[in-house]
Every structure is written in structure tokens, then in C-alpha cells.
């Protein structure tokens, strides 16, 4: 975007575009209209990576795309919570996705915020060790 201080109208258009973009699998979207250019980018990252954007896009208020890994913090049997989440599901807020059953105790696994489930890494009934990756969540 060419203006560092966009008008409320521009910001609104960018926000609407960003929301649509998040719902797609597109990695990059560029729109040129009326002399204005909007470009949105996405990059798959691990939790520890620093979000990286091309220099010319740095000032766009596009959502920073970030993939979080939800890991098991104890040893047990993995079970999906009901209703069972699926890959691609949008999570509007923090919710329980699964639980790890250990020594007869149900230990909830939560999404720890909103996002989209990119991957479910364990099947229902799998034994899981400490640190096993259970879910990958797109925090974009």
C-alpha cells in the first residue's frame, strides 16, 4: 500500500480482503485498482520462526500468518474431543480440541486462542509422548 496512514475506507477494504484471504489456501494475493495496489502474503511458519514479509509489503496491515504447534505436555492416550475437530476448521476462540488420558485422568488439550487447524498430527487413540506435536494451528 502506498500510504503509510491509510484512510478509514482503505483500512476497511484491507481488513475485508485479509479476512477473505485467511479463509483461502492462497499464499499471495495482489490487487491493483484505481492506482492503488494491495498485496497480501502468507508464509507457513513454526512457532519459533520470526514472521517474515517482503520489504515492499512491510507496511501493509495484512494479518501476520503464524503456525503454532500444540504439543502434549504429558504422556498418555490421545483422544479428539467431541464434536471432533477437523483439519481446516476455523476456531473463533480458545476451545478444547482433544484430551490426553493419563492414569485415568482426562487432561484437556486446548487451542490456546483463535486460528485455523492446519493439521491434526495424531489419530484418536494414539499413545503420545511428552512433546509430541498434536495440532498445527494457523494463527493468521
Amino acid at each position: 500500500m502506498s500510504d503509510e496512514h491509510p484512510s478509514p475506507g482503505v483500512a476497511q477494504r484491507v481488513r475485508a480482503l485479509a479476512e477473505l484471504f485467511v479463509e483461502t489456501d492462497l499464499l499471495r494475493l495482489r490487487i491493483e485498482r484505481d492506482g492503488e495496489t494491495y498485496e497480501l502474503g502468507r508464509k507457513m511458519l513454526h512457532r519459533d520462526d520470526v514472521p517474515e514479509m517482503p520489504h515492499d509489503l512491510a507496511s501493509i496491515e495484512a494479518p501476520a500468518v503464524r503456525a503454532d504447534q500444540i504439543k502434549a505436555d504429558l504422556v498418555g492416550i490421545f483422544h479428539l474431543s467431541r464434536p471432533a475437530p477437523s483439519e481446516g476448521d476455523l476456531l473463533e476462540s480458545d476451545r478444547e480440541l482433544a484430551f490426553v488420558e493419563a492414569l485415568g485422568i482426562r487432561n484437556p488439550v486446548r487451542s490456546l486462542g483463535a486460528g485455523r487447524i492446519l493439521a491434526i498430527k495424531k489419530a484418536d487413540g494414539d499413545p503420545v509422548e511428552y512433546g509430541a506435536v498434536l495440532f498445527e494451528i494457523d494463527r493468521g
Binding site: 504429558l74 504422556v75 498418555g76 492416550i77 492414569l103 509422548e129 511428552y130
Partner: protein
């Protein structure tokens, strides 16, 4: 028999993980969150369908609560029954039990409730005294106190170290006997009252921290009278408490005087020297006994043959108070050949994490005679290459070359005196 190994995130590349049929991570590097994490360990055993847990020789090996939790979950704890661990593993209680069994003990206290109690007791038995962790082993939670002025600080650090190492900060006090030998007896007992000993090990080559560095079996120059006394007391003590599985009774020996010090209700680091001279697989025996099998042999069936020595290869700097060394092992080559055994979890490219004991290997040499075992050990140590961290290899070679070790005339003050002479460490020599 199939095995499931547990490991922490810091040990993911360790050899025991690679060699097990299955391996499960039970927590991050720090010990309380992994190797002392009882729920995760039990959960691992249950979900992988284990029948039994061998607790090794650290962490939970002498934890009666853990043994009981295993039993509560239908898992066989490969070791003695929880009540025996409580009676014998708890060192202050063990001494009381030993006195009841007619076994000689060093003057010592029950569990100390406070610094003041420690001060009072030390006045009774006279300085110097030792503060020792009642749940302890490996020199952890142990402090020498030479005078009343040192008591408060020593008590605080011993209890803190004991708490951190064993989740049990209780300590007791013992009269420090100057320059005794540390000689221990290996025992095996089954669940039907059969008890045998597998001779003794001399573990007097100890660092100033009381951690053993070189062990051998049989003990050189031990009088027949002292040996008979040791072995007899060990068997008598085990019968008294109906001991089952492998155990070790540690004694202080001064001339012909023998004092029971403590019992380790587990397999010990230095068990291979006994295995070499008795041709008995002690860990296999532990599993057999835990499975309810009788020993199947008697004392006279066990014959000692030859001599065995173990050197501990630690990632430590002997020139700097044996400071532990963490880091990547850029090159590792171990020795081989007849009569040489290497127990290790490392290899070229492995990383020594900062969280755990610094021992990275044990080298054990067997010979028809003590001289032959020493010669073979020297050759084995020279063949060994460990690059990337400082180790105790060269220092073990130096010790083997001393006249005292050659002649087999050393006590627990030997290594601290040697270090003081060479200026290697600034420590109190126990002389």
C-alpha cells in the same frame, strides 16, 4: 525380552533410546520434570503394555513410593519390596535395623530434625562428622563438618542438595572415621528367603566429593578376618529384613574393624566388576527374582575367579575440581578385546547435556590376577578416545600408575591426598 526406554528431551539421541525396542519421551531436560516425573513414567509403562519397570541406579531406584505406585498399577518394580526399601534404603533407619541384626555400625544419629540437633549430636560423638542424605547416594547431599562453626552452612547445603536430588531433604550424621577403606558387599536374595553374597568390591578411590572413580573386586590386601566379617554381616543383615533382589551393603573398614555404613537397595554403577569375577549377569538375576523365580543356586555354587577393575569415564575436568563438562563429543573411540567391557550411552557426535551426572562410560577390565587386570585396564584406557570435552581418562591412568594403587594399599583419603599433592584441586585432604 522387549524393552521400552524412557528419556528426556535432552537425551533424545542417547544410545539407550536407540537400542530399546521402543522409546518414550517423559519430559524436558531438568530431572524433576522427566526422570522424576512419576505420572509420566507410569503412564508410559501402562500405554506401552510393560509388565515391569527396572529403575536403574539413579533417580527413583530407591524410592519406596515409586515402588508402591508401580505395584498399585499392576507393574512389577524390579527391586525389593517397598517396605524393605523404606527399612534399608533410608540410611538412618537402616543403621537401627542393622544394630538390631547384630551388625556393627559407625556411631551415627537418627534423622536430624534441625541444625541445633546436629550441633548437639556432633558434640557427643566429636568432630569431624559427616552429614549424609538419608535417601542419598553418589556423594549427593553429603558434607564434611569439621567444627561447630561449619554446621549451619553444611546442614543447609546438604538438605538442599538432598531435596533437589532425591525429593527428600532429610539428613543424618555419622562420625567421620579417618582414612578407612570403603568396601561393599554385593548380595542377591529371592522371594523365598534364599540369600547369597557375590563377594566384595573395594571402592576406596573416591573424589573429594565422595564419588567413586575406580572400583575393583576382590578388595586387595583385605584380611581373611575382615572379609569373613563383611560377608557374614551382609548375609545376616539381608536375612534379618527378608531382603529380595539385588542389593549392596557398604562398609567402612579400618584394619580388621568393619562398620556397616549404608545399604543401596538397587543395582549399583560398579556392579560389572562383580559380574566379571563371578560370571553372573546381575541385571538378569534381578529380573528373574522380580518375576518370582527362586535363585536356583547356593553360596558354594558361586566361585570367584580372577580380578576385575572398573574406571569411570566422566565428562569432567580433573584439573578444575572435577567440574562437569557439557558439550558435543566430536570423536569417541572405545577399546575392545578379551576381558574388556564398555558400558556407555555415548558415541561420536553425541551431546553431553548439562542436566545429569557427568559419567559417560564405564570401562571394565578383567584379568586372571590383579596385575593382569591393571595391565589390561591401562591398555584399554590408552585405546580410548573422547574428544570435545575433558574426561577422567588420563587421570585414571595416573592413578593406576601410582605405587599405592599398584600395591593395592589405598584408602578413601588416597585420591584427595594425591590431588592435594599435585595441586589439582583446592580441597581438604582427608588425612
Amino acid at each position: 525380552m522387549r524393552t521400552v526406554a524412557i528419556f528426556s528431551e535432552a537425551d533424545r539421541e542417547s544410545l539407550h533410546v536407540r537400542q530399546a525396542d521402543e522409546a518414550f519421551c517423559v519430559g524436558p531436560g531438568p530431572v524433576p520434570r522427566s526422570y522424576l516425573n512419576i505420572p509420566n513414567i507410569i503412564s508410559t509403562a501402562l500405554i506401552t503394555g510393560c509388565d515391569a519397570i527396572h529403575p536403574g541406579y539413579g533417580f527413583l531406584a530407591e524410592n519406596a513410593r515409586f515402588a508402591q505406585i508401580c505395584a498399585d498399577h499392576g507393574l512389577t518394580f524390579i527391586g525389593p519390596k517397598p517396605e524393605v526399601i523404606i527399612a534399608m534404603g533410608d540410611k538412618a533407619t537402616a543403621k537401627r535395623v542393622m544394630r538390631d541384626a547384630g551388625v556393627a555400625t559407625t556411631p551415627g544419629s537418627d534423622i536430624l530434625e534441625s541444625v541445633d540437633e546436629g550441633l548437639q549430636y556432633a558434640e557427643q560423638i566429636g568432630y569431624p562428622v559427616l552429614l549424609k542424605a538419608t535417601a542419598g547416594g553418589g556423594g549427593k547431599g553429603m558434607r564434611v563438618v569439621e567444627s561447630a562453626g561449619e554446621m549451619e552452612r553444611a546442614y543447609a547445603s546438604a538438605t538442599a542438595e538432598a531435596e533437589a536430588s532425591f525429593k527428600d531433604g532429610r539428613v543424618y550424621m555419622e562420625k567421620l572415621i579417618i582414612d578407612p577403606r570403603h568396601i561393599e558387599v554385593q548380595v542377591l536374595g529371592d522371594e523365598y528367603g534364599n540369600i547369597v553374597h557375590l563377594g566384595e568390591r573395594d571402592c576406596s578411590v573416591q573424589k573429594p566429593s565422595h564419588q567413586k572413580l575406580i572400583e575393583e573386586s576382590p578388595a586387595p590386601h583385605l584380611s581373611d578376618r575382615a572379609r569373613e566379617s563383611l560377608l557374614d554381616m551382609a548375609v545376616r543383615a539381608c536375612k534379618h529384613v527378608h531382603y529380595s533382589n539385588a542389593g549392596t551393603l557398604e562398609f567402612l573398614v579400618s584394619g580388621d574393624n568393619v562398620y556397616f555404613m549404608e545399604m543401596n537397595t538397587r543395582i549399583q554403577v560398579e556392579h560389572p566388576v562383580t559380574e566379571m569375577v563371578y560370571s553372573v549377569d546381575l541385571v538378569k538375576e534381578q529380573i528373574r527374582i522380580a518375576a518370582g523365580e527362586p535363585l536356583g543356586y547356593e553360596q558354594h555354587d558361586l566361585q570367584l575367579r580372577g580380578h576385575a577393575i572398573e574406571c569411570r569415564i566422566n565428562a569432567e575436568d580433573p584439573q578444575n575440581n572435577f567440574a562437569p563438562q557439557a558439550g558435543k563429543l566430536t570423536r569417541v573411540l572405545f577399546p575392545g578385546g578379551p576381558g574388556v567391557r564398555v558400558d556407555t550411552h555415548v558415541f561420536s557426535g553425541a551431546t553431553v547435556p548439562p542436566y545429569y551426572d557427568s559419567m559417560i562410560a564405564k570401562i571394565i577390565a578383567f584379568g586372571a590376577s590383579r596385575d593382569a587386570a591393571i595391565a589390561r585396564m591401562e591398555r584399554a584406557l590408552r585405546e580410548t578416545v573422547v574428544e570435545g570435552v575433558s574426561t577422567t581418562i588420563d587421570y585414571c591412568l595416573e592413578i593406576l600408575a601410582t605405587p599405592q594403587f599398584r600395591e593395592g594399599r589405598y584408602d578413601i583419603g588416597f585420591l584427595p591426598r594425591l590431588l592435594a599433592q599435585s595441586g589439582g584441586v583446592s580441597t581438604r585432604a582427608l588425612t
